[in-house]
């Protein structure tokens, strides 16, 4: 009996050891991560330095936010996270969390260090961020890779907000990225530096504006720059300043040329003229600011406790009612600054921000590194050699292409103004890819723009206040890339374009992707809606345009409803 009890005790111990071993090694509590990934929808190449800096604005410009909650009952050990963006950023050094306790949450943010190679992206491009995760859940080591898409916008694009449309409730929500305007102020650009040096040497004949706070000397510098812009024929490039309401939508993307492109291109929007003014002044050692409102932007020099604003668009242009002299431009800037600080008005709009460029750039909102370009230096030389000449006058023409051929076509249209008729003709593409009806009195032009070979045919009203353009991109199926290609070509020819996707629409049984926007060139604004679809031949699209914000006229509706493509 006693022996039996002894054996029972030994059995208990053996069974107990077995259970302890099973508990420690077989039925061990394991960790179980619940991973949530939040990726920014898009990044702007011009701000690539900002995205790599976790110190900027308390870290708000991250690309990926990873939230890891350990939902298991055991620890997660050696939780390692590494990121890469194929083609742009190699695998990062893993961030290792040695232990994540049950119920604990870890937040990991990815600030990608892009190189200036990203500035080569001219069109919106889809990129992918890959996240390599490795951990031990207490039983085994697990590895996984997660992937998320995001957009890399074109080099010249500024997204004024990254707030989802459903969250936007206030004017300020449309400008959450407004500080990134400072990335377009490029005092270290070799071309801007060269321009500034030549201005200091050839125009100012020496200056101490950057090293003294003498208001007279600062004003002399500002006057020299402003007058030089006028003398070399730089003009205010349009009435569109900052994003405006188009239809029922706010446009949140704006194409902004770099200061080097503005000075050598000869025209700029208000914000472009402001960034140019600031770039040159900063390059000369001055600190600058930019007043930004819902409608306008203008620069200022910050000297000690003083702000000297100037209406940079005062350079105007002969085509838009002349120019302000320097004194008037400063007076106007002063008045606008007063209105800004008093809360704005209908003329200059609602104040959004006064950007202290030097301060913000010092806090990490840095401009991109731009390469030197001998051709642009040559253009700068040409500007200085012609500054004594009469300012050039731009020939008013219809399209931004500015070709004589187009100009002549427009003249022909204007000469042939007729009373509108109700009958329509049908145009059928010789290859049979598309067909559409258009008013009989409208004129057709085949491949009218040599810079846009994808524009196959255009039909315009006699008064040239409405038209339809048909584009064909053979062998491709990426509608966004095709559409961006058109925009960028027009921008490179001097147009300013604002647009936004406007959903899909079915026309004659075919689904089209729709974009709504407006373009301006040579003081004309065109409102348009574009329809693009994929076919067996590639991407085909047509654009209906008018010089008023009414695209619901019977003739344009008829054209739209008659458009057919061969699938």
């Amino acid at each position: 009996m006693r022996k039996k009890v002894l054996f029972l005790g030994i059995f208990y111990i053996i069974l107990g050891l077995f259970l302890v071993s099973a508990g420690l090694f077989v039925f061990k509590k394991t960790g179980n991560p619940e991973i949530k990934i939040k990726t920014k929808a898009a990044v702007m190449p011009v701000a690539y330095k900002v995205y790599g800096n976790p110190e900027v604005e308390n870290g708000k410009y991250y690309l990926v936010k990873l939230s890891i909650l350990n939902k298991g009952k055991g620890e997660l050990k050696d939780f390692s996270i590494s990121y890469r963006i194929p083609g742009y950023v190699e695998w990062t050094t893993p961030e290792i969390y040695h232990e994540i306790l049950p119920g604990q949450t870890v937040i990991d943010l990815f600030y990608p260090h892009f190189s200036n190679k990203i500035l080569d992206v001219l069109n919106e491009t889809t990129a992918q961020v890959e996240i390599k995760i490795s951990y031990n859940n207490g039983k085994e080591t697990k590895n996984e890779i997660k992937r998320c898409n995001f957009q890399i916008r074109g080099r010249n694009e500024l997204l004024y907000t990254d707030m989802p449309e459903e969250e936007i409730s206030d004017m300020r929500d449309l400008f959450t990225n407004i500080n990134l305007v400072c990335c377009f102020v490029t005092p270290e650009d070799p071309i801007i530096k060269y321009f500034t040096q030549r201005l200091q040497k050839d125009v100012l004949k020496g200056t101490v504006a950057g090293v003294s706070n003498s208001q007279d000397e600062i004003l002399r510098f500002m006057k020299a720059l402003y007058d030089f812009e006028i003398k070399t024929g730089l003009v205010y490039g349009g009435t569109l300043g900052l994003p405006e309401k188009v239809g029922d939508h706010y446009t949140m993307v704006q194409h902004i040329r770099l200061p080097r492109e503005v000075i050598t291109g000869g025209a700029g929007l208000c914000v472009e003229l402001a960034t140019l003014f600031c770039s040159v002044a900063q390059s000369a050692g001055l600190n600058c600011g930019i007043f930004v409102t819902s409608k306008h932007a203008f620069p200022a020099i910050i000297a000690g406790g003083n702000i000297i604003p100037i209406e940079a668009t005062g350079i105007g242009g002969e085509g838009i009612g002349g120019r302000m002299d320097f004194k008037k431009a400063v007076e106007t800037g002063m008045k606008e600054a007063q209105i800004f600080f008093a809360g704005g008005n209908g003329s200059i709009g609602t104040p959004i921000a006064f950007l202290n460029v030097g301060k913000l750039q010092g806090e990490g909102i840095r401009p991109p590194d731009l390469k030197d370009n001998p051709n642009l230096r040559k253009k700068i030389d040409e500007l200085f050699s012609k500054k004594q000449q009469t300012p050039r006058r731009t020939q008013p023409n219809y399209a931004s292409a500015g070709t004589n051929r187009q100009y002549n076509q427009q003249r022909q249209y204007n000469q042939q103004r007729q009373t509108p008729a109700t009958n329509y003709r049908t145009y059928t593409d010789p290859s049979g890819f598309f067909a559409f009806s258009y008013p009989a009195q409208w004129k057709l032009a085949y491949s009218p723009n040599p810079y846009l070979p994808t524009l196959k045919v255009m039909a315009g009203s006699p008064a040239m206040n409405k038209d339809v353009e048909v584009y064909v991109f053979p062998g491709t199926y990426d509608i966004n890339a095709c559409f961006t290609n058109i925009c960028n070509t027009l921008i490179s020819m001097g147009s300013r374009i604002q647009y936004q996707p406007a959903g899909t629409v079915n026309i004659n049984g075919v689904t089209y992707q729709r974009f709504a926007g407006m373009s301006s060139a040579n003081y004309q604004t065109v409102y348009w809606t574009a329809y693009f679809t994929k076919t067996s031949a590639g991407v085909i699209g047509f654009v209906l345009g008018a010089n008023t914000n009414n695209l619901s006229t019977p003739d344009l509706i008829t054209i739209k409803n008659s458009f057919r493509v061969r699938k």
């Binding site: 005790g9 208990y12 107990g16 509590k29 308390n58 232990e99």
Partner: protein
């Protein structure tokens, strides 16, 4: 750790109070209160009065290193005070071996109230408005060895020790009980043999 609230004040001081209560998992409940002067209150109500979601968006945007949820908003018009309460995950970071770190703004001035209670103050001049941030931090009651230091990245942190509770599986507990029972049985058996 800083929340920037855009507020049109007239060269005044704006006082913002943040109260962090950190739990054993490193998460926190944060209460944000602001008591305003008459003019500030008017401006606050103009901006946020009927749209507290706007303030929520600003708070989320200004605290990207946390995961925020469970927001609630109360305002006391008589006292010109509003209270915003929310929860945050990932506020303190676990370094292993019972060591935790709470990162704070290096411009803040820390003050120890007790082992588990700290106070941080920070003033910033934004466009001639002085923003005073008062942050009170309450650590879990078992936290000890609190000290101000810098982490491996040179960030200012408040380090404290809080050993995580060790939990065994039922298998292990049952096994230990059986081993104990076995030893007792053997002892009983030997005692009986000797007798």
């Amino acid at each position: 750790m800083l929340i920037f609230i855009s507020l049109t004040a007239f060269g005044e001081k704006v006082v913002l109070n943040l109260d962090y209560k950190v739990n054993e998992k490193g998460d926190a409940t944060i209460v944000y209160t602001q008591k305003a002067t008459a003019m500030q209150w008017k401006n606050l109500m103009q901006v946020y009065g009927n749209n507290p979601a706007l303030l929520k968006k600003e708070i989320i945007s200004s605290l990207p290193t946390y995961d925020l949820y469970d927001f609630s908003f109360k305002k006391n018009e008589m006292e010109r005070e509003f209270i915003f309460t929310f929860k945050a995950k990932g506020v303190a970071r676990y370094k292993g071996n019972g060591i935790w770190e709470f990162e704070y703004d290096k411009k803040s001035t820390p003050k120890k109230i007790s082992e588990t209670k700290w106070f941080f103050t920070n003033s910033q001049n934004e466009n001639n408005v002085i923003y005073e941030y008062n942050t009170s931090l309450t650590l879990p009651k078992n936290a000890k060895d609190t000290q101000l230091t810098q982490n491996e990245f040179g960030k200012s942190v408040l380090r404290y020790t809080l050993k995580p509770k060790k939990e065994f599986s039922w298998w292990t507990i049952a096994g230990i009980l059986l081993i104990i029972a076995g030893f007792i049985t053997i002892i009983v058996a030997f005692t009986a043999i000797k007798e």
